[in-house]
Amino acid sequence: MGVIMGHEPNGKPGWPKTVKEWLFTLDHKVIGVWYLIGSIASFAVAGLAAMLMRIELGSIGPDITGDGNVYNLWLTMHGAVMILGFQIPALLGFVANYAVPIMIGAKDMAFPRVNAMSVWLLWSGILLALANLVIPDHFNGMWTGYPPYSTSDAAGNTALYSLVVIVLGMSSVFGAVNLACTVAFMRCKGMGWFQMPMTAWCVFTANIIQLIFVPVLAASVLLLSLDRYLGFGFYNPETGGDVLLYQNLFWFYSHPAVYVILLPFMGIIFEIFSASAKNMVFSYKATVFAVLAFIPAGGDVWVHHAFVAGLPDWLRVLQSFTTLLISLPFGLLMLSLVGTLYKGAIRYSGPMIWALGAWVMLIFGGLTGIPNALSSIDYGISDSYVVMSHFHYVMAVAGTMATFGAVFYWFPKLTGRICNEFLTKLSGITFFIGMNVVMAPLYFAGIEGMPRRYMDYQQFADNPTIVNAQYWSTIGAYITFLAVLLMLVAWIHGMLKGKKSSQNPWGSQSLEWTSAALIAGQGNFPSPVEVVEDWHPYNYIDNPKPTYITVASNS
């Protein structure tokens, strides 16, 4: 392919050098890095909260706190920050902003200023959320914030919760509009919709879901604050309101939200699989349609989070069925993932290990969603550790491994260097083992009846399954902690001492690897890219090369 830009990472400027250029940046790559920093910081904080929770839960009785409010603060922070501060910004912020524009051959996002505003809104939201740890009257109503608890004084600062969600929602909506326009209008010359990388498709679809559903979440939490502070009565049964309205509105967004997380990391797994196996994505077009199918399929299943909330029986049964139907598009994606390996030439690179771990846990987590989806089975396991284990498998293990896999995968573009392969693999495998030791025992504890959001479980003291599961789970959390440290070491080492990367270390066909390894400025490509109709990001056999349209230099 030849070096196109002549900007190998040879000490030439890669990132902005001045504080002003960093802070006031309008460039999507720098903004993407801001998203990444924000989300990794969130992960660290929320992960440390998880460590505290695990230590507390390791044995019966108060270990490090006897105060329910303190535990509930940790748990609220853990759930909310992991989802809203880590997963969504890492995927729809970092991946969407950093990688997608380069992957589709664009020079930037469609609205660079809106993009900058979105990232600062995100940071505002994260700062607000972290303030919860230090303010008096902290909010402890969990990430779901159900009224009437959350509209009572016992919940603490409800306004903080509503506003964090609204600010992050604004950030998401502006980001989503921006990305949708970018994908729609700024694909490079000649790139048709069906020549887009899977990551671009998945992020695009996830953003469409955001556009449709985030506003409903924002409205639902807005009404919480209106109720609590201004005396409105939307959720107050005494003045004709309904406590269940909140749950319907909340889950109307927050179920699709799990696909907002799922799809981009699925896209990353596709990306890494295809590049590692040097193979076409299996039945690419059908896969794209399966991705799009998540928009309608995810929209009419929210009641499965409220199977035991006193809603009418017919609604439970109906949405139990619609929930099961999600196994169709999901199954097609899984099929396509394994099909991508078929007759491939798989190289087990560092990112591939992370992606493999993500993929295995994805199947685990997806399949454990099935019992939850059966309304009558859910009567026995709702709000128990079974559910907790299910969503940690999909989100905290699969999602997190794919997200960090993406960081390892695009590390050469970010820094011009490659992380040490051994450290990458070691941290990946440790993380995988650690999280399995955390979550597998808890599944069995859940079957025995262990409910969620408990700081203590003395009522189950004579149940050895639960007691042992909690113990082993805490051990697993230490292993995970170690894995995260190893990963951070791998990144820092890679950043400072890593091997200089060639332009296309993974041998991918996607456009981002036709630009210099470390892009040294704004605009991404030396001149506009053009691809022909036969070009495909996953064609490894006879792909026509992308060309560069020469424009008269006038700078």
């Binding site: 009437p148 016992a154 196996a277 199947i363 089975i377 009567y379 026995g380 056999i541």
Partner: protein, 275 residues
């Protein structure tokens, strides 16, 4: 070309075979009616269904991983410049790879759904002769009202062999009444009456816990379900009735631990209203 797409079709047709018995089973299954559960309690039915679901997803997972592991091993990159050689799929092949798997997945979904629906019907239809107990939740207490002036806190006594239905509401925030071993959970909230029912068949004790987050002492909001022989139950009820008479007028108010919620006026909620 032709032969290739034909062979895909043939392969697809084979894949559709398992669908036939699945669908046939799903549609022929008799939807059980209310009282047609000779000896099969809801909890036993639930356990049965649970192990079926577990088998189902384990088998799916195992098949998938068998294939995946084989591919991961078989298609390792052995030479430096090797690239993947997956066949270019014809349009029919792509459709085949979409429609047939979807049919299979749908078949399994239907199979599970119909069985779960059957269980749902059993769990959501109260036998006519069930005894009613009113449950009132508050932070952080379970109050059981037997309807005859007797009420208990965090201790529920029922006679063995008789179905019991709980009519539940809450004084303050949302709680969730979970009876361990009976696999029933139902949220309890202000402004509504929700219900669940159980069929106790074994004498003994089990744990009742709260399953919806309700504040600082959520994890301490638990009680005991005591299933008693009919005779013991009757004896207990007689003495409890006598106690209740003695304390007439002094109906023991639900003990409320910790901070009370100020902007939810508990008293206004019609406590005993049914349905």
């Amino acid at each position: 070309m032709k032969i290739k797409s034909l062979s895909y079709k043939a392969l697809g047709a084979l894949l559709a075979l398992p669908l036939i018995p699945t669908l046939a089973y799903a549609f022929q299954m008799e939807i059980a009616t209310k009282n047609n559960y000779e000896g099969l309690t809801p909890q036993a039915h639930w356990n049965e269904m649970w192990s079926e679901v577990m088998w189902d997803i384990t088998i799916i997972g195992a098949i998938y991983f068998a294939i995946a592991l084989f591919f991961l091993f078989r298609y390792r990159r052995t030479e430096h410049n090797q690239v993947g050689k997956s066949p270019k799929l014809s349009a029919q092949a792509i459709i085949g790879w979409v429609v047939l798997p979807c049919m299979l997945f749908l078949g399994d979904d239907l199979f599970l759904f119909v069985k779960a629906f059957d269980l749902h019907n059993q769990m959501r239809e109260v036998p006519a002769h069930a005894q009613t107990i009113k449950v009132t939740a508050s932070m952080w207490n379970w109050n059981y009202d037997y309807g005859n002036g007797v009420d208990t806190d965090n201790e529920l006594r029922v006679p063995v062999g008789k179905p019991v239905v709980f009519r539940m509401t809450s004084d303050d925030v949302i709680h969730s009444h979970y009876l361990n071993g009976y696999h029933v959970t139902e949220d309890v909230m202000p402004g509504r009456v929700t219900w669940e029912w159980i069929m106790p068949v074994k004498v003994g004790e089990s744990v009742i816990t709260c399953r919806e987050y309700c504040g600082a002492n959520h994890s301490r909001m638990y009680g005991k379900l005591i299933v008693m022989k009919q005779a013991n139950y009757d004896a207990w009820m007689v003495s409890a009735l006598a106690d209740a008479k003695a304390e007439s007028g002094h109906r023991i108010a639900s003990t409320t631990v910790g901070k009370a919620i100020k902007n939810i006026a508990a008293s206004k909620i019609n406590k005993g209203q049914e349905g």
